[in-house]
Amino acid sequence: MSRFSEQLSAGKFVITAEIAPPKGVDTQLILRQAENMAFVSAINVTDNQGANMRTSPVAVAATLIAAGYEPILQLTCRDRNRMALQSELLGAAMLGVENVLLLSGDHPGFGDHPQARPVFDVDSVHLLEAVHHLNAGHDMSGRPLSGAPKFFAGAAAMPAAEPFELMFQKFHKKVLAGARFFQTQAVFDAEKMSRFMAAARPLGVPVIAGVLLLKSAKMCRFLNERIPGVRVPPNLIERLEKAADPLEEGVAIAAELVRQAHTECQGVHLMTLGQEKRIPEILERAGIFC
């Protein structure tokens, strides 16, 4: 069992952070980022995030394992068909990966290879089922494996999405397909998070709330315009605009969001985009000590 899964089943409030693989082979870059994350439960490794081509997350996850960190390997359906996905998963298991976060993936139109063919041979629900099969010792076609993996598989949730009922049916399908944990998109709206958790809680799967460190009003506008599913409300943009030190204000906002997550959810996923050094401060100001 992974440490991350043990902490969740023990009811501990978990902290996760994330590393984006570099575009290139600079291993030191990854390890330097990870140094600031020594105390988190697990580190998500993104998969060609934003549909931008980067180094394989499996390689980065293996690099982190070798250095003593516990990764959550993110895998999207955008770039691989069902054979490549299963093959990648088994390869990751061989390298010691246990936690996986299974996603549909952003459309290639957003990224740096907009002419690439979007694959989407299977969707995130299918991929959760596939992992369930692999754990049970056979592939999606029912063929037996020589040595089964022990994946702890999670999926993404979008608590603030509208229409709520439509979003929630997808969430429910993911639970039925075997999701053992959820990590949410960055949510800034406390009411929407509460509404979501009220509906999600009875299903009994831990939810880790996404908290994104806002660094400036300009960044918020970029997120609102360009990043699917992320919506920063006007009052927060105004706070950042009026602040003498916007990053300081962003840290304060992140701490407030973590504090709220602490009352509603089973953990927080911190997206700090290069400001990993501020993670301990965010947690401390939220009243959480690691």
Partner: protein
């Protein structure tokens, strides 16, 4: 109908390099309806070719060049003009280009790009609603196809990019899953939301398609 669009004149010039005399073929069905290969467009093409130093030996607008035998018959009716040409310029979809290549034995130049199977919204406005996937899910989705209208072709609900019922790839576009949800709700049934739809069986769509009835 099959929606097609003329290639740019710059690209056409590349394909016409070294070809001096041409016979033109249009299509009186789909390519006429989408104004890419009807009488009018064939006439305009002829003028453009002559303005660019080519000779046109003749032209024919065929009733559905996708019909192989009919295409063969119409080519025979114009045999002298066809034989005289260096190549046949085809203003029809890819299926039409194939028929002409098969039955003429001559070099063909396809003048159009074949885009999609289109519904006609109004004259000159076409929208793709079916992508001919071979595994129809419409009975469970209120007649709205997620494999076509969702840019990711997702089968089990919206992705994380849905915002206020709009698609992540284009905020003007209604999320396919939101359309399906509204439709099924108005019909008072759960439809596709009641089960996990399994992955698509791509064996049903292995090209080349073939059917004998």
């Amino acid at each position: 109908m099959i929606v097609s669009q003329r290639k740019s004149y710059e690209e056409l010039l590349l394909h016409l390099e070294g070809l001096h005399t041409l016979f033109l073929i249009g299509c009186s069905a789909c390519a006429t309806a989408c104004k890419s290969g009807g009488e009018e467009e064939v006439d305009r093409m002829e003028e453009w070719l002559m303005a660019n130093g080519r000779q046109v030996t003749g032209s024919a607008v065929i009733d559905s060049p996708c019909n192989i035998n009919r295409t063969a018959r119409d080519l025979r009716d114009h045999r002298a003009q066809v034989d005289e040409a260096d190549a046949i310029l085809v203003m029809a979809c890819g299926a039409g280009v194939h028929s002409v290549a098969l039955k003429s034995g001559k070099r063909v130049v396809g003048a159009l790009d074949t885009l999609f199977l289109g519904n006609i919204r109004r004259i000159g406005q076409f929208e793709e609603k079916c992508s001919i996937c071979g595994a129809c899910l419409l009975n469970e989705t209120g007649g709205i196809c997620p494999a076509t209208l969702c840019p990711k072709g997702l089968l089990n609900g919206p992705c994380g990019g849905m915002e206020d019922g709009k698609c992540e790839t284009d905020r003007e576009l209604d999320c396919a899953w939101c359309q399906i949800y509204d439709r099924l709700k108005s019909e008072g049934r759960g439809g596709v939301f009641n089960r996990i739809v399994p992955p698509r069986d791509w064996q049903r769509k292995l090209p080349p398609g073939k059917l004998t009835v």
